[in-house]
Every structure is written in C-alpha cells, then in structure tokens.
Point group: C2
Chain length 393, copies 2
C-alpha cells in the first residue's frame, strides 16, 4: 500500500526536522539549516531511508509557495521606502561582488550562461535573520552597523527578487536569442513593476487599502478560517499570475506575501505563519536535504571549494566596501560584511527551483546546499567572535 509509506515518510521527516531545528535554535544556529540537515541525514547522502518521490514533490511545491509567501510577509515596504537610500550602496555592493565571482566560477568551469547566472544569483542573496538575533543578544541592534545591515537587507531582498525573476524568465526559453530574452525580461519587468505599484499604492492610500480589505472580506466579522482561505487563494493566484508572466510560481508567492502584509489582520497572518512553519516549511526544507546528494560532491571538490570560498569573500568584501563608501568605520564595515554572509531559507528555495527546472545538476545543487550550510553556521559564530574581539580592544 503506497499511501502507507507516504505518511510514514512525512512523519519521519517532520519529526527529525523539528528535533534538529529546535536543537539548532537552542544553540543560536539557524533552524532551517537543522531542518535541511535532517533531510541530508535521512536522504541519499547518508542513510538512504527516504528518497525523492513525485508525491513528496507536490507537497514540497505547496510548501515552498507557503514559505515564500511568509518570506514576502516579512518585507516591510514602509521601511523600504523610508530607508531606501541608506541601504542602497551596501546592498548593491553586497550583491554585485558575489554575483561577479559566481559568474567567474561559471566561466572557469565551462557552465552555460543560465547555469552561471543562476549560480551567481544563489551566491548573492543574504539571509540576515540570524545576524539580527546575534545583534540582539549582544544588545547592539541599535548600533550603526546593525541598522545598516537591516536597511540593506530589505533592498537585498528586492534585488534578489529581481535577479531570480530574470533567471526564471531566461530559464524557460529553449534557446536564448536577443528576441526571446527581451520579451521574457519585458513581461517580467512589467509584472514586478505592477506588483510594486500595487503594493505601494495599498500601503500609501488608506482609503484604497480599506476598500480592498472590505472587498476581500479580510476585515470585520468574517471568520478567521474564511480569511485564511482567501489569503491562500490569493497566494496561489499570484503564483499563477507570475507563471503567466514567464516567471516562476515562487516569485508570485513572495510578492503576494509582500502585498498582503498591510492587508492581513494580525491573527490571520499569525495562523498562516504558524501552520507554514509547523508543517509546510518544515517538510519543504527537510525535503531539500532529501533531494541533495552530498556524495556527488566528491567528484567536483575543487569547484565546491571555490563556490564556498567565493561566497565568503564576495559577501564580506562587498558588504565591507559598501559600508566604507557609506561612511562607516573599518571595524563597523567588517561587522556589516560578516553579518551579511549567511545564506539560508530563501536562497535554498531558489536553488531548489533551479534544480527542479533542470538548470542545476545534482552536483551544483548539492554544492550550493553545502555552501549555504557552511555560511549559515559560520555567520553567527564569526559575528560574535569578531564583535567581542573588537569590543575587547
């Protein structure tokens, strides 16, 4: 009986992912890395207990849509508009440096343009959740370095969104000609521009916001369950709209979350996030571990080393240069660079999508997961050690 093994697989996956995730959280390490590690341990890399299946695939798809919507819900458009200039240079330098190094790896190892571009994108997207927690622990959240990182992170998200949109647009073309590339980029630019205009309009125009909330029945006496259903419907709808605009579903889900931030009542947002992280995201990130095969890495070990090294150099150097240009001290700038070095959930989601689309081989996909695990584990440790060292002097 097939259904038997599916329920068993899901159970084993979420139990192990939850345990490792909680353990990592206790150790002030990123939860999501613990969840991916659970998948790596259970999957083909080590125990071979669970292997990828088309059924898990669908659950992972639903999972990543819910997760990207949750990630979108964290993008604060208000903050983005208010602090746009302040974070811009840091974010820009923090993206351009690892991106260039990523393209260089692609060039060195003879990858095609799309592969190199996708790899470069995966090196460029920061996850700062953990750095914020370290700053908090050290009571430095109001410091100039921390504020710069937070401002830069919001813009970083948007640059990441654009980079990944372009990659997805290009990826669906069979052959890249000037014509196909232009039309793909054009429809993707329109989709993103319209989404942002809608998001900013909703945020700035109170009357417009209230009428949308009324129209969607997201306020008032509507039951929470109905509001939740409406939110889910809109996440799926935006995913499909993104697909129609030659993008990938996960871009649409992210944008849906971003727009919904100012529309959703707090309790609905809470229920959506709670359930996503209690089931869908848990399953999704553990499944990323199942899909990777770290054994395949041994073959291309020098490329993997280069990816990890360039990931570190690119982000830390880029962040440092950007912060220096913005007028921060050398010590603050190093802090900024280190704090931006983590890559975790969003980036893993994108890497997996490239893998599913056939752009990444299992080797490259596994290498990126490894890089993600290493940078995410290194970031909080490096940040603590550096800040404490700097304070002591």
């Amino acid at each position: 009986m097939e259904t038997y093994s599916i329920v068993l697989d899901i159970l084993i996956l979420i139990v192990c992912a939850k345990i490792l995730g909680e353990l990592f959280d206790k150790l002030a390490l990123p939860r999501v890395i613990g969840e991916v590690l659970a998948g790596i341990i259970l999957g083909p890399s080590i125990l071979c207990l669970i292997t990828p299946s088309s059924e898990m695939h669908v659950l992972a798809l639903i999972g990543v849509l819910f997760f990207m919507a949750s990630a979108g819900l964290e993008v604060d458009l208000r903050r983005l508009i208010a602090h746009f200039k302040e974070g811009l240079i840091v974010a820009f330098m923090g993206v351009i440096t690892p991106f260039s190094l990523g393209m260089l790896i692609g060039f060195l190892y003879g990858l095609n343009f799309i592969q190199a571009y996708a790899l470069a994108t995966c090196l460029s997207i920061t996850a700062i959740g953990l750095s914020i927690r370290v700053f908090m622990d050290l009571r430095m959240l109001k410091s100039r370095a921390a504020l710069t990182v937070i401002n830069a992170a919001v813009i970083d998200d948007i640059i990441g969104l654009i980079l990944m949109s372009i990659a997805f647009s290009l990826a669906i073309e069979e052959e890249i000609t000037l014509h196909t590339a232009t039309s793909a980029l054009f429809s993707c630019a329109i989709f993103i521009a319209l989404s942002f205009m809608l998001g900013i309009m909703i945020y700035k125009n109170v009357r417009f916001r209230i009428s949308i909330i009324k129209f969607l029945r997201l306020g008032g006496r509507t039951s929470v369950s109905l509001k939740l259903a409406i939110s889910i419907i809109f996440i799926l709808l935006f995913s499909l709209l993104a697909k129609v605009a030659t993008l990938h579903e996960i871009v649409g889900a992210f944008i849906a979350g971003m727009i919904f931030r100012s529309l959703l009542p707090e309790e609905v947002e809470k229920e959506l996030l709670d359930f996503t992280f209690a089931f869908f995201a848990l399953l999704f990130f553990a499944y990323i571990g199942i899909e990777s095969d770290l054994k395949s890495i041994t073959i291309i070990s020098d490329m993997v080393l280069l990816i990890v090294a360039f990931a570190f150099i690119g982000k830390i150097l880029g962040g440092y240069i950007g912060a220096r240009i913005s007028g921060l001290t050398s010590r603050e700038s190093i802090t900024v660079g280190i704090a931006m070095n983590g890559r975790a959930a969003v980036e893993l989601s994108i890497a997996r999508t490239f893998y599913i689309l056939g752009i990444f081989t299992t080797e490259i996909f596994s290498a990126i997961i490894l890089m993600s695990v290493i940078t995410s584990l290194a970031t909080p440790i490096m940040l603590k050690v550096f800040i404490k060292g700097a304070l002591r002097r």
Copy 2:
C-alpha cells in the same frame, strides 16, 4: 510543465468549493455538500475540467487525515461518559435499522460480503451538525428531542468508528477465513480499546493529563507553532499506529483528535481547525466530487434509488423506534428520526476510503455521494417543515 497545472487545479478547486460552501452556509444548507458539489461540477460528472491525479491524491490523503482529526476533536468524552445510557437506545436503533437495510441491498444486488458491509456502514453514520443548527435557529436546542439527538450522536460516532474499523480490518484480507477475520478483529478491538482507555484516563486523571501536556510541551511558554507541529506529528503517528493494527489511517487520525481534545490548548486547536477547513478539508471534499462520476449512475438507477430510499427509511424509522422506546412522544420521536437522517463529511470520508481500497466501484461510490447529498439537503428542510407544522397544530 506539470507543476503549473497542479497549482491551477488546486486554485480552481478551492475557489469554487469555497464559493459554493459559503453559499450553502448562507442558505442554512451543509457547507460540505456545497464543496462536494463544486467537485462534481468541475469533475468528470459535468465539466471535466479537473480529473483525478496521483498528486491530488496525496493532498487528499493529508486532507482527510487532518479532517478526521478535526472530527475527533469534536467528540466529547466527558459528555459520552455522562450521557451514555440516555442516547444508547436511540443511537443503536438508528444504526441497526439502516445497517440491516444496507446489507439487504447488498444481498439483493449480489455484492460480496465486504461490499455489502461497507455499504451498510455508509448508510449508518449520522451527521447531526446541521440538525443542531436548525434546532438552534428554532430555539429548540434545550428541547427533549434535541438533547436526545445530541446524546445519541456522540455514541453514533463511536459505533460508526467501530463499524468502519471492522470494515477496514476485513478489507485488507485477501480472503476472509475465520482465522484472518478473527485476528483482524482482535487487533482492531485491542487498538480501539487501548485508545479509549488512554482517552478516558487522560480525561479523568488530572495529574496524568498535566504530565502528558508537560511531556509533549503542549502547555506553557512553548510557541504555538511548535505545539501545532507536535499535534500534527501525533496525528500522523496515530494514523500509522492504526495502520499497523490492521486498521486504516483515518481511524487513527480520528482517535488522535478524540484523545487530543483534552490536551490541546484552545489556540492551538483553533489554528488546527482553521487551517484544516481553510485548505485541507476544502480540497479534500471538493476532490471527492472530482473522483465521483455521476454519469455512471444512470446504468444502475434502480439500485441507487433503493440506496437513497433505504437511507431515509432506515435512519428515520430507526431513530423513531429508538426514541419511542426511550419514552419520547410520537411527535418528538419523528423529530429525532428526521434530525438523524443527514449524512455528510465523516461518511463521505469513509466512503471515499472504501473506494480507494477498491471495495466500492465508481458506481457504488457515486451512488453513496448522491445519497449523501440528498439526505443532507433534505434534513434541514424536512426538520424545519415538520417542527413548524407540529407547532402550528
């Protein structure tokens, strides 16, 4: 691209199911029937827009597990223990009459034992949610008839649980011999008995309950998301335990819900229910409509007529006789019989499981869905008309 069509299918299904469900609710008709109808309209019966797929199948499986757990959460063991005797005769008569008539249909149409037994089970399980709403609307919830129905319904659930457990135990045997049947019934009896003992122990022994809540981290400062994850893990675990005990997963999920009722903090229960009804149950019931094919019914129209007729006669007559024996007036007894005539969500879940297990043909499955739709639509209307007529006299 395959994922494209899956997200589109899910979106269309939940939008239509939600709209029809809300519409039915506004008309004081059962929501779940509206959701199934959405599936019937979109599926092979009418529009042929969406067809069953293995991917949707997995989502439906997860959906029915969450739904059965929600149904289990509604079983009030406290009420069951307190009012056991009062509802017993009504529940027993209300099950035995339609069950016998169901076996008779099986005999008349040459079905094998398991098919007849499964069909009889599907005729026997009452859904009283809607009747309670009618009693509420008419301000009769405290009337003797209404209280009898509510007491009977709890026991009805348990009888239904046992009937379906036996059916699933028998269904997995290739050939039914005295030996296989005995061993299947034995393990199923042990599983149900142990579950009830555990449930009643948790309910009666406060110290035991508190230590379980502490052990599972379901109380205190644990985050809601973690509590939710733990609940989901236990629902899946009980599903698998039921499977090991030669039962079906949905029996285990139902029991998990029943046991969890006294353990789950209110907010966790609320989030679990909200999300289940906003996504999983919605998808599941709409998918039942997709899996049925009402066109297939035309071939066996006389059997379908008999199923529907016996469904009405069996429940109304059985409920009436039981209520009369319990000392209610003739008018009250007819009210009880009518109120117990609806069959909806739980029964549809069981019928679908029989269908998936290969016990029901598409014809029988579709006939039961039709019966379910008709009884569920007729119950609130008949109940209102009868009670108002009775009041006028």
